[in-house]
């Protein structure tokens, strides 16, 4: 036993007694989160305060008063942004959860394929991805023009414009947040709870409404936070669909105008709104418990016949696939069309391989791809390590400042990428305490670090949602059997969180590969990420070449997703889904 040696001097003994608690001691949570708090403080919180003080530097609170005057752009932008964000959450929620339901609860031909491509929209390359939406759904898009040609109308039909267009893009690119979270939660849920509801006479819809969805709350909260904040910080979509009265557009415009304080005011408001939303969600989630209280482990085998599902699910899924793949298909069309020949036609008339030839004939063509892969992978690993730890600390440990830590992690997500990048540059262009005296700007490490800071919230959130469903007594059992905290943590807790963690890591990786706004400010010539390569082609209006690059990126992410799908023992998943359909 760990009895203290009697020879220990009294003061040593006192200290050792205090530390004897080990992970039980009240210091443990602080020790665990201390490094993280430093990182977050240095790169997120401190810059955030700097931003705030910048916003009040010149004329005090006057910048903020603009948000309260009825005619101001500021207020309108705030409302528009809030509206877009709320609507995006709703739409993404509906699409994501429905897809999770169809794919995880039914088995049908082609389900695996859809599962593999389901995240492709999230992998759409920046700029070219947005362009593909325009080419599809806007006034000049294939669909409206096709319909116009079909019905011979004067104007394009069903063209998405303005806020509607933004919402389409948001729904497409962000529903994976919901899909992944819901899918992971569905897999981790105690099935007998659902059975109990059926047994009490509830129909499928009712069970969803009253049991499954509430039980998915942690996942929904996590996804809602991510989508809400992404929408709030979304830039390209409003830009392309001409919704200039949004917060991010105003930040950009004010920066270009050189009105840095006003831009900072916008950024601060963005942060404040995000914090309020985060706190509201935390409160909502915290009211209930979601951990299974069942005794033992119930079989994951439930068998329900459902003739409607058997037909509906495949049909719905085929439709979904078409819609999902449309933007990618559009990029493909562009990639195979000759630069600048596709103008007023509904579809391009001439096709060519030139764009790919152009890329492949460049000896350095693969460099951006490899760079992006490498840096995103590094960042994803970092996100997993830190994100999981923080999620654990915030959910399971009691310490002062728990809520603040939660807020700090998420703030990085709410800030526009440009702001994060600029914060990083100022933090690392000289050696200081937070960078351990290292100058990172101009080195390889700055980009992975940026991705890490930006995408940590994804992993953190999804891990935290996964953790909410896990019965803490499992970890207790491991501790009781003699496992140290660390061992219990990685052999039990992390292992059970894995679906959620993997989902988050995948998203973080995918986002890393596509990241542009921050990358463009900190990349170096040896670390050109793929997004910057695409962007360069875009600016010289070599759409086809850019699209060809985009296709490479999509293909690459597809491969990664396919592999990670295998990793997560898709065999059991399939079996499970089969049992549901029976």
């Amino acid at each position: 036993m760990t009895a203290l040696p009697e020879t220990a001097p009294p003061r040593m003994a006192a200290l050792r007694r205090r530390l004897a608690g080990g992970t039980n001691s009240q210091w443990f949570p602080y020790l665990l989160v201390l490094p993280l708090v430093l990182v977050l403080y240095g790169y997120v919180v401190h810059p955030m305060f700097a931003t705030f003080s910048e916003s009040v530097s010149e004329n005090g609170t006057r910048n903020y008063l603009q948000f309260f005057t009825s005619s101001g752009v500021a207020r309108e932008s705030l409302f528009t942004s809030l509206f877009i964000s709320a609507a995006s959450v709703l739409l993404c929620g509906i699409v994501g959860v429905t897809m999770a339901f169809l794919l995880k609860r039914f088995s049908f031909r082609g389900r695996r394929l859809i599962e593999a491509i389901i995240l492709v929209p999230a992998a759409l390359p920046p700029l070219i991805g947005a362009v593909s939406f325009q080419l599809l759904y806007s006034n000049i898009g294939i669909v409206p023009r096709g319909l116009q040609a079909l019905f011979g109308t004067e104007r394009p039909i069903m063209a998405f414009d303005g806020i509607a267009g933004v919402l389409v893009v948001h729904t497409f690119t962000m529903y994976p947040f919901f899909y992944l979270a819901a899918a992971a939660a569905l897999a981790g849920m105690d099935p007998s709870v659902e059975e109990a509801a059926y047994n009490l006479g509830a129909g499928r819809v009712r069970v969803w409404r009253t049991v499954l969805l509430p039980m998915l709350t942690p996942a929904m909260v996590s996804a809602s936070l991510l989508v809400f904040m992404t929408s709030l910080a979304s830039y390209t979509a409003p830009l392309l669909f001409n919704v200039s009265q949004t917060m991010t557009m105003q930040i950009y415009i004010n920066r270009t105008n050189g009105d840095l304080p006003m831009a900072s005011a916008y950024a601060s408001v963005l942060g404040i709104v995000s914090i309020i939303f985060l706190l509201a969600m935390r409160w909502y989630e915290g009211r209930r418990s979601y951990q299974s209280q069942s005794k033992g482990i119930s079989a994951n085998r439930r068998e329900l016949t459902n003739p409607i599902g058997r037909w509906l699910a495949p049909v719905a899924s085929v439709l979904a696939t078409m819609v999902l793949l449309a933007p990618v298909a559009t990029i493909a069309l562009v990639a195979f069309s000759e630069n600048r020949t596709w103008t007023t036609q509904v579809l391009p008339e001439t096709y060519t391989l030139d764009n790919f030839v152009t890329i492949f004939s460049d000896p350095k063509a693969f460099e951006p791809i490899l760079n992006s892969l490498q840096m995103s992978l590094l960042a994803a690993v970092g996100c997993v390590v830190i994100g999981v730890l923080v999620a654990y600390a915030v959910r399971r440990l009691k310490f002062i400042g728990r809520g603040l830590l939660d807020v700090a992690v998420m703030i990085a997500w709410a800030l526009p990428g440009t702001v994060v990048a600029i914060n990083l540059i100022s933090a690392f262009s000289t050696g200081n305490a937070f960078s351990f005296g290292q100058v990172l700007i101009g080195t390889f490490w700055i980009l992975p670090l940026a991705y890490f800071v930006r995408f940590l919230p994804i992993v953190f959130r999804s891990s935290s949602a996964a953790l909410a469903l896990i019965d803490p007594s499992l970890e207790e059992a491991a501790r009781n059997l003699g496992a140290s905290w660390l061992r219990a943590f990685y052999t039990i807790t992390v292992r059970l969180m894995l679906p959620g963690v993997l989902a988050g890591a995948l998203l973080a990786f995918v986002h890393g590969v596509g990241e542009f706004v921050a990358s463009v400010l900190i990349y170096t010539s040896s670390t050109v990420p793929i997004s910057v390569a695409i962007n360069n082609r875009m600016y010289s209006f070599e759409l086809g070449t850019a699209a060809a690059y985009g296709m490479l990126q999509v293909a690459l992410i597809f491969v990664v997703m396919w592999f990670s799908g295998r990793l997560e023992s898709s065999r059991t998943a399939t079996r499970r889904a089969e049992q549901w359909t029976n």
Partner: protein, 357 residues
């Protein structure tokens, strides 16, 4: 009237293996009957119950509710109320919300619902716990919530999977009276799984004894106790001596066997026992049906006492009769009996019964 009928129901979890969790079970449960499934751990009780509830589909066989073939109905159409062995409470709801769930689904009005919920909570001695979160309850309290949730909807068929296993004796007795009362009043059918034989005996109209997925015997508690079909049932329900004795004569409902002393006795047997002279019959004799015999009695087993245990009302003896250990629970045993004594044991003839191996 027949309420629930299982016809040759089997369930194989693993298509490749040939062990079935439930194997060709055929039982018929009358309306209003209190029917118990009894059997050792892992014998297929829960699996059977889950097929009745609709969570598993039989690999083969049919399930009827009255005249309806419900084999493939979805669970929510069946109007069964199940207490899950693992409780399966809704963790995101309070105690009262859990109990009220089934009533909500049934669109019971608010006032009526509140009334019934608090009534149900009172029945399981949890009044005042309505607003608690499930994770702030003790194990036994959770089990009672699960019970209240199933009872409150007064389902056509109650399915109770060890609903009292985590309760103390006092509470258990009260609750079991309560369950029985509710079931009788509503006239509904109940299928009950328990591992407590006394409970099964006390509560049930009929009992099905299962082993390795197969039903060994179905009958009233008395039938099962006094006329077990086979050695397993005889031994599983209470304690029993199963003696191998040579058959010297056989009738339709009786068999004549010879004891080691040479005396022959007639023993009851089920119709169609199929034994003839020369066979060896297995005869079940419960300890309390064995008494001490006078030294000169002919039809007695003789042996040496190997163990004596005084339990108050009766004295438990273990006697070695020619290598067979025989247990006897003797009332009014002389205080002088000691280990090593030679005793004679008389079998209470009317209570002996021939069982299958």
């Amino acid at each position: 009237m027949i309420d629930v009928r299982l016809t040759a129901v089997s369930k194989r979890f693993d298509k490749s293996s040939d062990a079935a969790a439930v194997d060709e079970v055929t039982v018929t449960i009358g309306a209003g009957e209190f029917f118990t499934l009894l059997g050792p751990s892992g014998c297929g009780k829960t699996t059977t119950l889950r097929m009745v509830a609709g969570f598993y589909f039989p690999t083969s066989g049919q399930i009827h509710f009255g005249d309806d073939d419900v084999t493939h109905w979805s669970p929510n159409k069946r109007d069964t109320g199940m207490v899950f062995q693992n409780y399966a409470l809704f963790p995101h709801m309070t105690v009262a919300q859990n109990v009220a769930y089934g009533l909500r689904v049934r669109r019971v009005s608010r006032t009526e619902r509140d009334r019934r919920v608090s009534e149900a909570l009172a029945q399981v001695h949890l009044s005042g716990y309505g607003a608690r979160r499930i994770d702030a309850l003790s194990g036994g309290q959770q089990q009672r919530v699960a019970l209240a949730r199933a009872l409150v909807i007064r389902p056509r068929t109650l399915l109770l999977d060890e609903p009292l296993s985590n309760l103390d004796a006092k509470l258990r007795e009260e609750t079991r009276t309560e369950i029985r009362r509710i079931q009788r009043e509503s006239g509904n059918t109940a299928i009950y799984v328990t591992h407590d034989q006394a409970e099964a005996m006390a509560m049930s109209d009929r009992i099905a004894v299962m082993q390795s997925g197969k039903v060994q015997q179905v009958g009233s508690p008395q039938e099962i106790y006094y006329r077990p079909t086979n050695a397993f049932v005889a031994r599983f329900i209470g304690r029993s001596n199963v003696l191998s004795l040579p058959v010297v004569g056989a009738g339709e409902n009786r068999v004549e066997v010879r004891l080691s002393s040479g005396a022959t006795i007639e023993v009851g047997a089920a119709t169609g026992h199929g034994l003839t002279e020369g066979d060896t019959a297995l005869v079940s004799a419960r300890p309390e049906h064995i008494t001490l015999a006078g030294g000169d009695e002919e039809s007695a087993l003789r042996g040496r006492v190997t163990h004596v245990e005084f339990t108050g009302m009766a004295t438990n003896l273990t006697v070695d009769c020619d290598g067979t250990e025989v247990m006897a629970a003797v009332i009014d045993a002389p205080a002088t009996i000691n280990v090593g004594d030679l005793v004679g044991l008389r079998l209470v003839r009317e209570r002996l019964w021939v069982v299958k191996p």
